[in-house]
Symmetry: none
Subunit: 399 residues, 2 copies
């Protein structure tokens, strides 16, 4: 689809705001039969729904629960089934490690092995982040000829391994056998080009075993999700948009950087993001704004906290609208229903308001109401063309 | 899509019921403006619609009327445009002939030819099934070196021819010229590998002409739909489900066997199917239940009989629900509108009820109401991933 869209794009002076409420969608609380969105008081989002076109966004495919990576790639216009990003790369993006083309990134876990080398705990009892930092410092002492190694702590037992050098490949099997009572597996090359990289990783792992031998409980490592930066078309080039990301959390800055958006420095809260938006309003055509609290509350399984997070966000909507964006979109990267306490597969409400969006019968911003909207149930990657059209930035297809 | 789904599947103790109401969807009766589903009293299906998520299933593509084969393959999770099954194979499945990999099956018609060998009736006046059985007995006398032949009566003028042996191919043209006044066509090989098979079939046909020469009106045969068993991924392997089919009609048992489900012995009526379901409840994770009466009434063009079939079925819903399935799905393999007296291309209502399905504004199980459901208009092969998600049997896609 990007090949169809790109030649149609024209530039103009319109402004677009794409507000992603992380983990937006929910499910009814069994006691009331109403979802978080249906329970919250959201006068400004409801007003936006009343004057805009509404629908539901499906990020990957029916029944598929999107991670944050595929969820946002879809919103940015990329079919997440076509543009797949490995877990190692996502993990590196999540700590804003500046991956370069050709780097191979893997997700690492510290784990516990017994005397015979068999895994007894795949997460080493979820060691604290302090210990993770100390242990990754030790792993940084490891040297393998012909490659530069980076070992970066993430959180608890998780770290990122990055290999930098010529001729590397991410086509590698994982060392995690996904079960206790088994030894970590050696890395295998999945094709001929990956053989040298497999040897490098196996050398790293055997050195890591020696370095960690006297530690407890984190006396070994597991590696998975080897991958390189995908070759994504750049968002500013495809859509001819000066695009900026305003996101307090590193993962979302990383995802925006992956597609070539500029990352604006901002503070830790959404109020800071709004300030940042105002400050840079004249310099960009497109703003990706990210709000995290909805997802956090959903992940915690805290229905009331998610309602509160939605209501706090709703109060910010007028401040965004005072900038008078030509196209204002509010949606999310995936559902995080509180009753699931995790990401969900449910399609997520979307409202798109512009002079040309048309209105529909929907006047409440929630799952059930948006199901009756004129946008229907829409694959996420179809949103950006619709946004551009509403910004009058797309020429006719065919004469 | 199956390649995306399969690595995400996890196992747990949930139970799933997929109830297929054959030919479920209908069209409004011109006198009342209400369809069969809209006219019938369906308190239990309506209650299920009220607590579950609803939508419409499109089995192949807009405007395409599905046969029972593609209709059910879609419900089982297989894209029916990608996994095509030849008519000969479907006909063999319909009589529960135990096709083996490599067998070539064709649908046969007895027909009538005149003195010059030109077809005067492509169905030999729809001879009775008794005569069909007697004539297939005679065709069984035919021998062709190097191949084992099976000739099985179906109904009226229809039979199945199966070739068994090494190196056979189904890439053969049909002998039916689809018109009277023309002679039956010789079979041509559609590629080099099929040449030997074409010779075998042509030898069978010329012998059949001699064997039937003195019969009237069924003095010749026509063969079409040559095909071999498709190489389908096995349903229990792809979805990690212990899957059982409960179906009174052989065609539907055959389709379930085609994808590797276990076929449970059951009686001739739907009440028997419910008993079978109860008896085997603990031994399987997934039950495919099939109800035929809706299709039969639709095929007969009998609007009132279809209403009655729907109301009879509705009364069984509580009996299924007493088993407390974690995911309960009711839909159909295609529409059979009574005013068409045949299969239709219209999308078919679906309701999916689980703890995590969410509810939508839909509280009636019919075509018009379900169009406003949160499932939208959904390709049939997307149903199984959604079912697995609702059973919490699918991991997240991407980190």
């Amino acid at each position: 689809m990007l090949d169809v869209i790109a030649p149609l794009v024209v530039e103009n002076a319109t402004k677009i705001v794409l507000l992603s409420l992380d983990g937006l969608g929910g499910l009814p609380r069994p006691e009331t039969g109403r979802s978080e969105l249906e329970t919250a008081r959201l006068p400004h989002l409801d007003a936006l729904a009343a004057r805009g076109a509404c629908g539901l966004i499906r990020h990957v495919a029916p029944g598929i629960t999107p991670g944050s990576g595929p969820g946002h790639l879809g919103l940015f216009g990329y079919d997440p089934l076509f543009y797949q990003v490995g877990r190692g790369v996502l993990e590196a993006l999540g700590i804003e490690f500046e991956l370069r083309p050709g780097d191979v990134a893997a997700r690492g876990n510290f784990c516990t092995v017994d005397d015979r080398g068999l895994i007894t705990d795949r997460r080493a009892g979820r060691i604290g982040t302090d210990l993770c930092i100390r242990l990754t410092d030790r792993l940084r002492e490891i040297r393998v000829p012909g490659v530069e190694l980076f070992v970066e702590p993430v959180k608890e037992h998780r770290f990122v391994l990055v290999l930098r050098g010529g001729g590397l490949s991410g086509a590698l099997s994982e060392t995690d056998p996904q079960a206790t009572g088994k030894p970590p597996l050696p890395v295998r090359a999945l094709n001929a080009e990956a053989r040298a990289t497999a040897e490098i990783v196996n050398s790293f792992v055997s050195q890591a075993r020696r370095v960690l031998a006297n530690e407890a409980p984190a006396n070994m490592i597991l590696l998975r999700g080897f991958d390189q930066l995908p070759d994504l078309p750049r968002f500013p080039d495809v859509f001819h948009l000066r695009a900026a990301a305003v996101a307090a959390y590193p993962m979302y800055r990383g995802l925006a950087r992956l597609v070539g958006m500029e990352i604006l420095k901002t503070g830790a809260g959404f109020a800071d993001e709004i300030v940042t938006l105002r400050q840079h309003w004249d310099s960009y055509d497109f703003f990706f704004l990210h709000y995290k609290d909805t997802d956090k509350a959903g992940e915690d399984g805290d229905f009331d906290a998610k309602i509160a997070a939605l209501e706090r966000l709703d109060a910010f909507i007028p401040e965004i609208l005072t900038q008078k964006p030509d196209v204002m979109v509010v949606t999310g990267d995936h559902a995080t229903p509180s009753i699931l306490a995790g990401h969900g597969w449910q399609p997520v409400p979307v409202v798109l308001a512009s002079r040309y969006s048309g209105a529909d019968p929907v006047s409440a911003f929630n799952e059930r109401a948006c199901a009756a909207g004129t946008l229907g149930v829409m694959p996420a990657q179809h949103l950006m063309p619709l946004v551009l059209a509403n910004a009058l930035r797309l020429n006719k297809f065919g004469a």
